[in-house]
């Protein structure tokens, strides 16, 4: 097979689990790569001898030959020549021996697009520009809905947030006052789900901390973390109202 000069960069995904393989293949294709697949290490080593890849993703645990052994063999064949970036794909992210096998980086399954961007941006020449730090991510998902669905959808969701979150924060405050650790955990978890889904990442992080305090039955810590949650919500509320004002105006124009 020829070197795909001038066409889309080509990567190899070696993974025995068909679901995991399809997922990673689909993500990489959506990012603009041509994707070859292999079902075990033997096939991966063979494919890498036939093609020049921009990167090779090797699942660590595969039948026939695992990712570690495949990486070792690819490195032996490369010798002092060009070194293909090899990314270890692990089930837990805890396997650290991938470097010893000659792999460059490790990511855990299922692989988030952020992780893929980061690792490709670091090791694949053609992705460097794409990996520039993203612009302010605040309320990223909610803004995206506005872009794709129009202002009415965004306005409806922002209003839902402005109603739901304060209600649950009141419930949280009461739970802390009543020393009800279980409800602190549940309420914090619930609001965290909202925060995460609209892309309010800082707010979600504060709520995650509070949820942990509840889970650990540490009500003193929960009290102080509640203050941080409340502060962060004030910021979020301002952002939501600003976004709402912007889109209610846009909605009027339609």
């Amino acid at each position: 097979m020829s070197d795909p000069a001038g066409s889309r960069p080509r990567v190899l995904v070696a993974e025995d689990n068909p679901v995991s393989r399809m997922i990673l293949q689909g993500q990489l294709a959506a990012m603009g790569f041509d994707v070859d697949t292999a079902e075990n290490g033997v096939e991966a080593v063979e494919a890498s001898a036939r093609n020049r890849y921009a990167a090779i993703f090797l699942d660590c645990q595969m039948p026939e030959m695992d990712g570690f052994e495949a990486a070792r063999r690819i490195r032996v064949r490369e010798g002092d020549g060009d070194r293909t970036p090899i990314i270890a794909v692990t089930a837990t992210g805890a396997e650290d021996d991938f470097r010893a096998a000659g792999m460059d980086a490790g990511i855990s399954k299922p692989v988030s697009s952020d992780d893929l961007d980061a690792v490709l941006g670091r090791y694949v020449e053609s992705r460097r520009a794409a990996a520039e730090p993203a612009a302010a991510k605040g309320l990223f998902s909610l803004r995206r809905i506005g872009e794709r669905r129009g202002s009415a959808a965004l306005v409806r969701l922002a209003k839902l947030c402005l109603r739901q979150i304060p209600e649950r924060l009141d419930s949280l405050r009461l739970a802390v006052e009543e020393s009800n650790a279980r409800r602190v955990e549940e309420d914090a978890h619930f609001v965290k789900g909202t925060a995460r889904s609209i892309g309010a990442d800082d707010f979600a992080s504060r709520l995650d901390e509070l949820e942990r305090s509840g889970k650990a039955d540490d009500l003193e810590e929960a009290g102080s973390r509640l203050a941080a949650v409340t502060d962060e919500y004030e910021r979020l509320e301002r952002d939501l109202r600003a976004l709402l004002a912007e889109h209610e105006d846009a909605g009027d124009g339609k």
Binding site: M22, G26, Q27, A30, S113, S141, L142, I145, K192, G193
Partner: protein
Amino acid sequence: MLGKDPQMTEGKVLVVDDNEIVLEMVRMHLEDRGFQVETAQSAFQMPQAIRDAQPDVILLDVKMPALRGDKAARILAERSFSKHIPVVLFSDLDEAELTTLVRETGAAGFVRKSADAELLAQVLKGHMATAGRP
């Protein structure tokens, strides 16, 4: 196996989550990527929703009040009206915990709530495409 529906969608997903905003956000993200989406706000609504919607895959929140998603997944894996439908657990538990839960409940897999919309779509597509295979 059932054929694709006439509108040529990516497939039909039943999303179950107690949080209305999460449901709405997920619904819009998935619809934008070509899925048909039905929603239910508690595990108790699932049997009816499954019969009505005949989904290709179920995205199931784990931490819900009254009936947790992992318990519900166990039940779905045993019932004749649902055992052929892959269930994907939707949670922010860590990966090791979710791997264990998948094994214990008979779910097809998991996706973390921090996943971006593209990953979520790919995971659901992957499970639909391989449903029923050994």
